[in-house]
């Protein structure tokens, strides 16, 4: 893998795409538009993962998030009628409180970052992405350092429970 080209340009492009997508998700009336904006955000984020030398996570992001979860969202949006909800009030009554809380959280972030900026010295790295998937697999199930094996099993159990739960919840007559 050659060194990345025009890193700042792509970073800002993807970052701006993500933020615009995020703003649209929060503000659009139509849920399908929100979903499309979210998909844009997710894909831009997959691009950022690639820039961070995390190709496997990027692939999972595309196949699971954009290709799986968002299809589920779109499916549900189409099953429930949205014509009516579009005409209704979009924000709830405590929107002011919500924004205030978010602003407070934002203030906290800013404070943390300004204080702790010095704690993040950039470790420069130029290494090939080639082994990324294999290294991840090694961490997850490898014989030498498979320290996440147990967590992985728990996650699969969680998924099983979620499947059963979703079926029980959504089915009219079981």
């Amino acid at each position: 893998m050659s060194p990345p080209v025009a890193t700042p340009f792509f970073f800002y492009l993807l970052a701006v795409t993500m933020l615009i997508g995020g703003v649209l998700v929060v503000t659009r009336k139509n849920a399908v538009h929100c979903a499309l904006a979210l998909i844009t955000t997710l894909l831009a984020q997959a691009g950022l993962y690639l820039m961070l030398y995390a190709p496997f996570v990027a692939g999972v992001q595309i196949i699971l998030y954009a290709g799986g979860i968002m299809v589920l969202f779109l499916f549900v949006i189409m099953l429930i009628s949205i014509e009516r909800t579009e005409k209704e009030r979009q924000f709830n009554k405590q929107w002011l409180i919500g924004i205030a809380a978010a602003a407070a959280l934002g203030g906290l972030f800013i404070a943390v970052y300004t204080k702790g900026k010095a704690l993040f010295p950039e470790g420069r790295l130029t290494y090939a992405e080639a082994g990324n998937t294999q290294a991840l697999a090694d961490l997850l199930y490898g014989p030498h350092s498979g320290m996440y094996m147990f967590a992985f099993e728990i996650a699969s159990l969680l998924l099983l429970v979620a499947i059963i739960g979703a079926v029980v919840m959504a089915k009219k007559r079981i």
């Binding site: 700042p8 993962y49 979860i69 969202f73 924000f91 409180i97 934002g106 996650a155 998924l159």
Partner: protein
């Protein structure tokens, strides 16, 4: 300008924080449950971005196999899938009974 052009971990953290805040605003202010769920996805993604950015930072110190942040990101994605499935399942059950998708109308413990 130099700080702007050299993309460091902090850049990713700021982006992630902004995304997180957007998600929080969405969760706290929107009425439509579907959009609230999508905002939760935004939050989870912000966290993921953070994790992967730190994973890269960590690799710079401990070598290429220090991928714990990415492993965590994968777990978060798994969790997001489970959350979306169950959340939308609840949503459908709720909609079938109340014929609404607004969170502030979920004000009964049973119906």
């Amino acid at each position: 300008m130099e700080a702007m052009l050299h993309i460091s971990t902090l850049h990713y953290l700021v982006l992630s924080a902004a995304l997180f805040l957007l998600g929080v605003i969405g969760v706290l202010t929107r009425r439509n449950v579907v959009i609230v769920l999508m905002s939760i996805e935004l939050i989870l993604n912000a966290v993921n971005l953070n994790l992967v950015a730190f994973s890269r930072y960590w690799q710079g110190i401990h070598g290429p196999t220090a991928l714990h942040g990415q492993v965590f990101a994968i777990f978060v994605i798994t969790d997001a899938a489970a959350e979306a499935a169950v959340g939308l399942g609840i949503l459908i059950a709720f909609f079938r009974n109340k014929e609404t998708v607004n969170v502030d109308e979920v004000n009964l413990l049973k119906w």
